[in-house]
């Protein structure tokens, strides 16, 4: 694997995660718990769509096979997707969505902070722009973690159970393979071991303030690096890609 191939693979990981979690958030549109929150979630979803476009566009350029961001988003199959498993988990209730978003936002916050220093200028520029957005997302989801965790008995139970259910997907966030090894060596990507420490510290702080217990789940589900997803992704892609694929070559 050369550097260019590693970058392509890495950009798919970043871009697909943004694409899929943004898609999940967009499913809330018009169904949020209150009008203000409906707008807030759409704002976050919009940031992810923008971020996806930039990442996949650059991925396509590096690959140099004439695939643009839409081709990459709409014409690949389940096994070719590299998004983290946590991002594809269905929305569930508002507590589940917030927990999923918070765990992922925290990860993205530290990861993109590292990527701002990437030796790849395009990646560094995308990360710098996105990091501002993520900083706000994390603030928003953290505040919701406090309110749901330390709100009513019902909200606490819902959030605790959401966190428990999601926990098995968190180990994967910090998985590294030869792609990471090469990019770390070249100064393109940060070492996820460091991100993991920062992530754990922040998650612990927020959980404590939100009166949540750290889950004791030991099972860790992984596989997104090799395109082994949960069964949910297939349905999501079937919906997302149907129109684009139904009319090959059509412009919209």
């Amino acid at each position: 694997m050369n550097l260019q191939q590693a970058k392509f693979e890495y950009l798919l990981r970043l871009g697909d995660s943004s694409l899929i979690i943004g898609h999940r958030l967009s499913e809330w549109c018009g169904h949020g718990p209150i009008l203000e929150e409906d707008l807030a979630m759409i704002n976050i979803a919009l940031d992810f769509v923008g971020n996806t476009s930039e990442l996949l566009k650059y991925a396509g350029q590096l690959e140099d096979k004439g695939r643009d961001e839409d081709e990459l988003a709409y014409m690949r199959d389940e096994r070719e997707f590299r998004n983290l498993l946590i991002t594809e988990q269905p929305n569930g209730d508002f507590a589940f969505t917030i927990a999923r978003q918070f765990l992922f936002d925290t990860y993205m916050f530290f990861l993109y902070e590292g990527l701002k220093a990437s030796k790849d200028e395009t990646i560094a520029a995308i990360a710098a722009k996105s990091h501002k957005e993520i900083t706000y997302h994390l603030r928003h989801t953290s505040e919701w973690m406090y309110r749901l965790g330390d709100g009513t008995a019902e909200s606490h139970d819902r959030l605790q159970s959401a966190v428990n259910d999601l926990w098995m997907f968190t180990a994967e966030l910090f998985d590294m393979d030869e792609v990471d090894a090469l990019l770390i060596k070249e100064g393109v990507a940060p070492d996820l071991n460091n991100i993991k420490t920062e992530w754990e510290t922040r998650v612990n702080e927020v959980f404590a303030k939100a009166t949540l217990q750290l889950p004791t789940t030991t099972f860790k589900q992984k596989g997104s690096r090799e395109g082994k997803h949960t069964e949910h992704l297939g349905f999501l892609l079937a919906e997302m890609q149907y129109l684009h694929r139904a009319y090959p070559g059509a412009k919209w």
Partner: protein, 313 residues
């Protein structure tokens, strides 16, 4: 006696173009009508998020996905501005939403039609927002300050909605034969509902005279409808689509189009609740409200705990 004097001053103010503000004296009928209009308008915005929201997860590319998300978000924002405007007259948003959920309050008939294909998203932006803007630019000149200010902001933001819809239709009309058929089919299905959404014809629209005098309503339904048709027909022709009205004719003498007979039975039926999507739209709104209850309560409980902590400290 006192009221007659106040009414005279109130009408004089309106005549001289001064806006009425929340704390000003106003006739009860004016207040009632405004609350009804603003809440109906607000309900239309948030129910209107649903038919378009229906296509966000299936938008054909990332650019369209972002545009549609931003547009539907705007509808939510506009609902929010309008509820706020209604609240200045002393009604709570909780109460207004309850009126929507119990069917006591109405919303625009147009959102009870289904969005069956992607072209419907184009048709809504082009036709529905096009018709709505005609109405809203008039309302921006209305006499009630908060409503008028909300309308000014809304009109400013909505101008892209109309264009993005037309752009979608144009792209389809210039696309493959299947795409063009999709666009024509959407126009066929949305044309009449859009023409109808501007409200019953003038001879069938109660209270209009007083509302026009008080600048609550600015123009008659038929006048707005005429302008909508005059502007939209050439836009359809420009992209090679056919307006589904075989009686549509341009009248050289008046400079306006005359249109075929409008099926008002359908309109009143949909308003009554018998449209293809009435039940679904209402259920979606009620479900969102029900599912959000524990969330809203949790946030209030959390805030109350923080206040208590401060008191102790």
């Amino acid at each position: 006696m006192e009221d007659a004097k106040k009414l005279e001053a109130f009408e004089a103010k309106i005549n001289s173009g001064v806006k009425i503000e929340p704390k000003d004296w106003m006739p009860e009928a004016y207040r009632k009508q405004l609350v009804r209009m603003m809440s109906q308008h607000a309900h239309s915005e948030i129910v209107g998020m649903l038919p378009e929201g229906n296509w966000i997860t299936r938008a054909p590319n990332l650019r369209r996905k972002a545009i549609l998300l931003a547009k539907v978000q705007d509808e939510g924002g506009h609902g929010l501005y309008l509820y706020s405007a209604a609240e200045t007259l002393g009604v709570d948003r909780t109460e207004l939403l309850e009126q929507l959920h119990t069917g006591k309050a109405k919303y625009s008939s147009i959102f009870n039609y289904p969005t069956l294909t992607w072209a419907d998203i184009g048709a809504i932006g082009w036709l529905v927002d096009g018709a709505a803007i005609m109405n809203q630019t008039a309302l921006a000149r209305g006499s009630y300050g908060p409503y008028s200010r909300a309308m000014v902001r809304i009109c400013k933001e909505e101008s892209f909605h109309n264009r993005q819809g037309y752009e979608i239709m144009m792209q389809l009309a210039q696309g493959t034969p299947e795409q063009k058929a999709m666009a024509q089919d959407a126009l066929n299905r949305w044309w009449w509902p859009a023409v109808m959404m501007l409200g019953p014809s003038d001879d069938n629209s109660p209270n209009s005279e007083q509302l026009m005098r008080w600048k609550v309503k600015m123009e008659s339904n038929d006048a707005i409808r005429e302008r909508f048709i005059d502007r939209t027909v050439p836009q359809a022709e420009f992209i090679g689509l056919t307006v589904p009205d075989k009686d549509l004719k341009f009248d050289e003498e008046t400079g306006h189009y005359t249109h075929g007979k409008i099926n008002w039975d359908e309109f009143f039926d949909v308003i009554k609740g018998n449209g293809p999507c009435n039940a679904k739209r209402l259920k979606d709104r009620i479900d969102a409200d029900k599912n959000g209850k524990w969330v809203r309560e949790a946030a209030v409980a959390y805030a109350a705990k923080r206040v208590k902590e401060k008191e102790i400290a």
